[in-house]
């Protein structure tokens, strides 16, 4: 199946369209909110919340006996929130650090959830099959109503974010200062955290408990590499998230039986790796290139400065010197010298070099330039 056929299929096939739309919206809202989590250094909170949601799903099923996704997700929401507040409680009431608190709640809740799942599986109830899809998610079970739900939550989320943009930004940057300006930081904090919990719960059905935090973090981490503006970062994260959803769905749909959730997460991971390497300002590749170039320039300047020092001892700056002198004093390389000749700083005559006027002037200004550049 080529791309054109696939795109046609997305528009004609009801199931595929629903899944593509659902994963795209989910990716966008997760990227958006994930930016806030990353900037608050609460990256792991998402992981803890999603794991903490599992017992809620199991308990909701045990109570209602129904597998209706909305009911189960309300269970997930409640237990996710309980987990979140426990984590906060542990951090504020004890001396434990936040990573310890997160790890503790994450494994406790997940362990309890797994226990309940195995218990449910042993029940003589035909209905129980398929609950474990919440572990790794199953995009194929998305219904149009689920997508509507996601769209509505995303819309509300977007609205709140635009409304309280200024408050969100200042709280993320400097919470203490925000307090002194008279803002109730608790309200802003609860707003952000609740939306993160909501986004996670929305994604459980598609991506699952285990991988959900990657949906939150990967697009945001990738977006951070490309920009120094919060607004652009949030927007880019939403775009990366949405594309992860669309591409991930496409890959899993065109390859039989590839689970959608993990593929989406992997696509998001590709965005991250690509951004880490190729971002112009923060990426590894350009950083390395800049580093090498700077070193080379410095080497060039050093050789030139050295020649300048020798030339200065003579009245005539173009007084030729044996190339051997350079060798004796400093391990110059032919390449460096060649480059200096190319720039017309140095003349080579057989085995003798001499500074040109241009080279002399440049060398004289070298030190000044260096200090100017550093300012």
């Amino acid at each position: 199946m080529d791309i054109k056929e696939y795109i046609q299929l997305v528009f004609s096939d009801y199931t595929l369209r629903t899944i593509t739309l659902g994963t795209a919206i989910l990716g966008a809202v997760c990227g958006m909110l994930g930016s806030f989590a990353v900037l608050r250094k609460q990256s792991l909170l998402g992981d803890a919340i999603s794991h903490a949601a599992l017992p809620g799903i199991a308990i909701a099923f045990l109570i209602t006996g129904a597998k209706d996704s909305n009911t189960l997700l309300i269970g997930a929401l409640i237990s996710g929130l309980i987990g979140t507040f426990w984590i906060r409680g542990i951090i504020t009431k004890t001396h434990l650090k936040s990573d310890t608190a997160l790890g503790l709640i994450l494994s406790l809740f997940f362990g309890f959830g797994m226990l309940l799942l195995t218990y449910i599986q042993k029940q003589p109830n035909a209905n129980q099959a398929g609950l474990d899809k919440y572990l790794f998610g199953q995009a194929a079970t998305l219904l149009e109503s689920d997508v509507w739900m996601m769209a509505i939550v995303t819309g509300i989320c977007l609205l709140i974010m635009l409304l309280f943009w200024k408050e969100f930004k200042i709280l993320l940057f400097d919470a203490d200062y925000t307090k002194t300006l008279g803002f109730n930081t608790k309200i802003i904090d609860i707003l952000i955290t609740s939306f993160i919990v909501l986004a996670i719960v929305l994604g459980l059905q598609t991506v699952g408990v285990v991988l959900m935090s990657a949906m939150l973090l990967a697009p945001a981490a990738a977006a951070r590499q490309w920009t120094n503006s919060l607004a652009v970062m949030v927007f880019l994260a939403a775009v990366f998230g949405a594309f992860s959803g669309v591409f991930g769905t496409a890959i899993s749909a065109s390859q039989n039986n590839l689970s959608t959730g993990p593929v989406i997460v992997l696509v998001a991971g590709v965005f991250v790796i690509f951004s880490f390497i190729f971002s112009p300002s923060r990426g590894l590749l350009f950083k390395q290139i800049r580093f090498i170039k700077n070193r080379r320039d410095l080497q060039l300047h050093k050789t030139l400065a050295f020649m300048y020092n020798i030339a200065e001892t003579h009245e005539d700056i173009s007084h030729p010197h044996a190339i051997r002198i350079l060798n004796n004093f400093q391990g110059y390389t032919k390449g460096t010298l060649q480059k200096l000749v190319e720039k017309d700083y140095v003349k080579l005559n057989g085995n003798l070099w001499s500074l040109t006027d241009l080279g002399f002037k440049t060398a004289a200004n070298l030190y000044n330039q260096q200090t100017r550049n550093n300012e």
């Binding site: 900037l39 250094k41 943009w165 940057f173 200062y177 307090k179 002194t180 120094n228």
Partner: protein
């Protein structure tokens, strides 16, 4: 001239755990002084400022700003936190950080407009950072970051300024630039309260001083109380500082 009380602290006690960090502090800061708070590490200097500003919850005590409770007078107060208290890799520009100083007067939801931007640019100009307005804040030097924080407080156009170690880790040029701004503020009748570490510069920079070590040791004009006796009481060792008259 110095008869109006800008900040009044009554019976302030703060504790994180069992041990009190601040014990029964009474403090009156007259209007128009440039005051240093000095004391050893762990003396509660930052805690005192943070408690006055309502960032920390004290166990007991009350704060009033010009005879009214602090909560009603927030608009009169500006704060410069320690530079190290925020993540400077946050995706934003110098101008944007300074604009945050206007958020308090805007209140909830309302966005900053041209008026706020103009005020922020003026503040940047004052601290000599106008050429860096569009710079990503992680690309600024420590001294420049400190100036940005100062500009953010200046934008608030407050009557009372609280600053937590504004001279920490800045070079001599920045230190002089900052102290000149502080002196200008005092000249304009503002009250400036600074947590300060360098005892040598206290007589030169400040006209009022508070010695603090969990309890308040002394407070008053530098020329009257900045002496070896109070320094010894505060720092516990026989401290000798050459006070230049």
């Amino acid at each position: 001239m110095k008869d109006k009380i800008a900040v009044k602290v009554d019976d302030l006690t703060v504790a994180y755990n069992y041990k009190p960090v601040l014990w029964d502090i009474d403090l009156e800061i007259p209007e128009g002084v440039l005051m240093a708070i000095v004391g050893p590490n762990g003396a509660g200097k930052s805690t005192l400022i943070k408690s006055i500003l309502g960032i920390l919850d004290p166990i007991a005590g009350s704060i009033s700003i010009y005879d009214k409770p602090y909560e009603k007078q927030r608009a009169l107060v500006a704060y410069v936190p320690q530079k190290g208290s925020v993540d400077w890799d946050f995706p934003t520009t110098a101008l944007d950080v300074v604009m945050m100083g206007t958020y308090g007067s805007l209140g909830w939801i309302k966005r900053p407009g041209q008026k706020q931007k103009k005020a922020a640019l003026e503040a940047l100009e004052k601290v000599g950072m106008l050429p860096f307005k569009g710079r990503q804040i992680s690309q600024l030097s420590g001294g420049q970051q400190q100036r940005i924080f100062l500009a953010r407080a200046l934008v608030q156009n407050a009557s009372i300024y609280f600053m937590d170690e504004p001279f920490q880790g800045v070079d001599a040029t920045t230190e002089i630039a900052i102290i000149n701004i502080l002196k200008e503020l005092r000249k304009a009748g503002k009250t400036v309260i600074v947590v300060h570490h360098d005892l040598q510069t206290v007589p030169e920079y400040f006209d009022w001083v508070t010695f603090l070590n969990v309890k308040k040791i002394a407070t008053g004009p530098v020329k009257d109380i900045f002496n070896d006796d109070n320094l010894t009481k505060t720092y516990g060792i026989n401290y000798k500082v050459s006070v230049q008259e």
